[in-house]
């Protein structure tokens, strides 16, 4: 069952310590089962780690909640009792916080609860979504994230299924005609913008995209990045000034004089924002090997 190499002899004792720390025994897990779970986690996140590195990685996991989730997935009654006691009401509270509405929150939570229990079967065994919990974050946070993913998926599906009548009711027909592909007035402007955006850090790009593309508040962005909102505000100001300088420098380097460069920059701010999206889409990372759908 184990997909990874067995831990070295020196780590057996440590595994026993981790197993005791997880309290999996009271949920019906065995040391062998728990070892398999840990190996799965290590293979997924630190596949090339040494046994010592694996041990360090395992120690940082939420072992107790990992054991609880996997025991629930295995169908242990005591584990389910503990899970329901701890998370049943929280699940509805989280869903209510996401959907901002009771009925949809209950629907969302019930749907997830069914997935957690495992309504589908594979090879005669129930497949619980709790099997995908790896213990990197708290189980409550994982449930929150899964609910948010489920909510976003539903939102996007329903958006795709919006009828033309609903779009008409929403006033889409009265909106201005979609603009064509945004093209800078001068190709040199686009090249200069792409060059300036390419020099931004990932966090700066995240702040820029969240603010200009997602229209998120400074508070939301600050919470996402982990800094105060005033810091985000100052960073945005600095970032725009720096971008302007770099674009100006790029335009000047591409043969424009300063007056032409300023005229090109003042043409429309939206060019900058559109280019952010386009440029950032080109710099997609390939770090995540697993699709969300397989989660």
């Amino acid at each position: 069952m184990s997909s990874g190499p067995r831990p070295a002899e020196g780590t057996v004792l440590s595994l026993l310590v981790l197993f005791e720390k997880s309290g999996g025994e009271r949920y019906g897990l065995t040391l062998q089962t728990f070892e398999v779970v840990l190996e799965q986690v290590a293979v997924k996140y630190v596949p090339e780690a040494t046994p010592r590195q694996k041990l360090e990685f395992w120690r940082d996991l939420k072992l107790e909640e990992l054991a609880l989730a996997r025991a629930c997935a295995a169908g242990h009654e005591a584990a389910w009792q503990a899970f329901l006691t701890r998370f049943r009401e929280k699940l509805y509270d989280i869903a209510r916080g996401i959907t901002k509405e009771d009925s949809s929150a209950r629907d969302l939570a019930d749907s997830l609860y069914a997935d957690l229990y495992g309504t589908s079967e594979r090879e005669g065994r129930r497949v619980s979504r709790l099997n995908f919990y790896m213990g990197r974050g708290s189980l409550e946070g994982w449930l929150r994230t899964v609910l948010a993913q489920e909510f976003v998926n539903r939102y996007r599906k329903t958006k795709r299924l919006v009828s033309l009548e609903e779009q008409t009711e929403d006033g889409v027909q009265f909106s201005a005609a979609p603009a064509g592909p945004t093209s800078p007035l001068d190709s040199r402007l686009g090249a200069a913008l792409d060059e300036a955006l390419g020099q931004l850090t990932g966090e700066d790009r995240l702040v820029l995209a969240s603010y200009y593309l997602d229209n998120r508040t400074l508070t939301e962005i600050g919470r996402m990045v982990g800094v105060h909102e005033s810091t985000i505000s100052r960073r945005l100001e600095k970032m725009l000034k720096a971008l302007r300088k770099q674009v100006m420098a790029g335009l000047v380097s591409r043969g424009m004089n300063r007056g032409q460069a300023e005229e090109a920059l003042e043409a429309d701010v939206r060019y900058l924002q559109v280019d952010v999206t386009r440029k950032l889409q080109e710099n997609r990372p390939a770090a995540f090997q697993q699709d969300k759908g397989s989660d």
Partner: protein
């Protein structure tokens, strides 16, 4: 805003074309909880910067997290630093400290109520017939105690009308005459009481001679500006209340009370009724001198805490006059803790002792009645009844009395200064200076000199003797003990 449709279109287009790999829920959770390693966090941030759905998921997760945190904040706020001090232990400590402060106040404030000598002198001049006043006060109080049911309505009425009487001279004179008429009876009763008083009570009576000084602030309370504090103590005091009320009526030379004194009179009068109502009917049999003794604090303060504190203080005071031979004193020292003397026994051991009845069986201090509870008291009583031999040390001589009121020298050898004797039937131990110790087994007919040891020094100040266990203490704090009837001695450190 013209750029908004473009941005919305661009975002929806990007989402529709999004088929890339996303971070799994565990990774996003760790990112939201900021528990990801730095390198992996940068990767997630890079992904989020180009993936609107993942930003949405992160945002939703954080929103619900923030709401949950807000719900947590709605719980009771953390206890402040000062409130943390209000732990049970701190409360107990504070209560103990408060009781200590109250005890100090209770014990010290009565002394403060005593006026300075100069003030006392001045008041003595003002109230020249002070003795009459005090006597009148005593008498009034005595009458109040002897005839409580009868006097209670009268006292109540007079006390309640005290402010009016202060302004009513005829009524005051009438009251004074009645009081003076009863003064002779009171003095006679007082003299009779003094004859029967023991020495310490007489000493208290002597103190009563200086009572005007102590009573002065109470007597003139209504005349002084600082009477409020004095009346505070008089408010709940039976004696002071009666003195206060009577003083207004019985002191002819006293000036008219100030209008402001009406309040104080009212206060004392108001407290008279419950005060006198509490006096038991048998208080008439108590000696009159009780009225002159300082009122115990617990009687002045009627609160339960004050009573507890003053009761504790009173017990501490009384400890010094606890009977030397208390229940179990000797047997505890001899049996419970060998070699330990009762300090009370050392100081208050009577020099005259009666021979305790000797038990047939010996060797056990525990089985000796002489060392049992209340041994000396009971043995003394039995000895008097059976005309047993009495032993005493007088003038450095050891004397005994086989016939009542006839004493004879029990050890007619010159050169010895006896200081202590212990008799138990015919077994008599006597000691004196230079650790001199003698022993008689036949009631003093023959004596043997017992040598404690070469290191024995000082005068023997105490002897505890059983059949076999004997303990001797000297003035040099040496404690010698023997467990074989005095044949061998060992010195123990006390």
């Amino acid at each position: 805003m013209p750029e908004l449709p473009d941005l919305l279109r661009q975002r929806l287009a990007a989402a529709e074309n999004d088929t890339r790999m996303h971070p799994d829920a565990d990774t996003i959770t760790a990112f939201v909880e900021q528990s990801l390693p730095a390198a992996e966090r940068q990767t997630v941030v890079a992904h989020l910067s180009v993936c609107e759905p993942c930003r949405e998921v992160v945002s939703l997760s954080q929103t619900s997290l923030a709401e949950l945190e807000t719900q947590t904040v709605l719980k009771p706020a953390p206890v402040s630093r000062w409130r943390r001090l209000l732990t049970p232990g701190f409360s107990v400590a504070a209560a103990v400290a408060a009781m200590a402060v109250i005890a100090v106040l209770v014990l010290q404030l009565p002394q403060k109520s005593t006026p300075p000598s100069a003030q006392g002198t001045q008041q003595a001049k003002v109230t020249t017939p002070a003795d009459q006043n005090i006597s009148a006060d005593k008498k009034t109080s005595t009458e109040a105690k002897t005839s409580v049911p009868v006097q209670q309505p009268t006292e109540t009425r007079s006390a309640q009308s005290a402010p009016l009487l202060d302004r009513d001279e005829p009524a005051r004179e009438t009251q004074a005459k009645e009081t003076q008429a009863k003064e002779g009876q009171f003095k006679e009763a007082q003299a009779h009481a003094r004859r029967d008083q023991p020495a310490d009570v007489k000493a208290l009576a002597g103190l009563a001679a200086s009572a005007p000084a102590a009573k002065a602030p109470v007597l003139t309370a209504s005349l002084k500006k600082d009477y409020v504090n004095t009346n505070f103590f008089a408010a709940n005091s039976n004696e002071f209340a009666s003195v206060d009320g009577q003083a207004d009526k019985d002191v002819p030379s006293a000036p008219q009370p100030q209008p402001s004194s009406a309040n104080s009179s009212f206060i004392s009068a108001k407290n008279k009724l419950p005060a006198f109502a509490d006096i038991p009917s048998n208080t008439a049999a108590k000696p009159d001198i009780r009225l002159l003794t300082p009122t115990p604090p617990h009687q002045r303060f009627d609160c339960p805490v004050c009573k507890i504190v003053t009761a504790g203080a009173h017990s501490l005071r009384l400890r010094s006059i606890t009977p030397a031979i208390r229940s179990g004193a000797v047997s505890d020292s001899a049996m419970g803790a060998p070699g330990m003397f009762s300090s009370a026994l050392q100081k208050n051991q009577p020099s005259e002792v009666a021979a305790a009845p000797e038990k047939a069986e010996g060797g056990s201090l525990a089985s000796s009645d002489a060392l049992s509870h209340g041994a000396l008291a009971t043995s003394n009583f039995k000895a008097r009844e059976s005309s047993a031999t009495l032993w005493k040390v007088a003038g450095g001589k050891l004397i005994k009395s086989s016939i009542p009121s006839q004493w004879e020298d029990a050890y007619p050898v010159a050169g010895f200064q006896f200081s202590f004797v212990n008799a138990r039937g015919n077994d008599v131990w006597a000691g004196g200076s230079s650790a001199f110790l003698i022993h008689s087994r036949d009631g003093g007919s023959s004596w043997e000199i017992v040598k404690l040891g070469d290191a024995a020094t000082g005068t023997i100040v105490n002897i505890l003797a059983g059949a076999l266990n004997i303990q001797v203490k000297t003035s040099d704090n040496q404690l010698w003990s023997s467990t074989d009837g005095g044949k061998t001695w060992t010195m123990q450190s006390e």
